[in-house]
Symmetry: C2
Subunit: 67 residues, 2 copies
């Protein structure tokens, strides 16, 4: 199961889904779905997002055994 701290990072940076989406070249809805755990991103998207916040991928995304 994918756990993401995306919303938390966005809040910390005072950044809207729309702004983040534009920065990484996807749609706002994609960010929203991601935050709500609707699907697992591509490595590229995860990479781009982590670069925006200047942290490692693992700091934002973690997989855990179910729950």
């Amino acid at each position: 199961m994918l756990k993401t701290r995306l919303k938390e990072f966005r809040a910390k940076h005072n950044m809207s889904q729309e702004t983040l989406a534009r920065l990484v070249g996807v749609r706002r809805e994609t960010i929203g779905h991601l935050e709500r755990g609707n699907y697992n991103p591509s490595l590229k998207l995860a990479w781009d997002i982590s670069k925006v916040f200047n942290v490692s991928i693992e700091e934002i995304f973690q997989y855990t055994e179910e729950e």
Copy 2:
């Protein structure tokens, strides 16, 4: 552009594509395509592979601006 050190890590661990594929639950061909840069993996696959080698995702996969 995606650069991967997958083949290198496999060699270091003396592990075949087939074995790695089974460990992370994908097909051998998927590992092969990945090593040859045929496509970008899902975050889940990248995560699982990095766990096999006990390193961070970024140690195995890196995106660079073209080349």
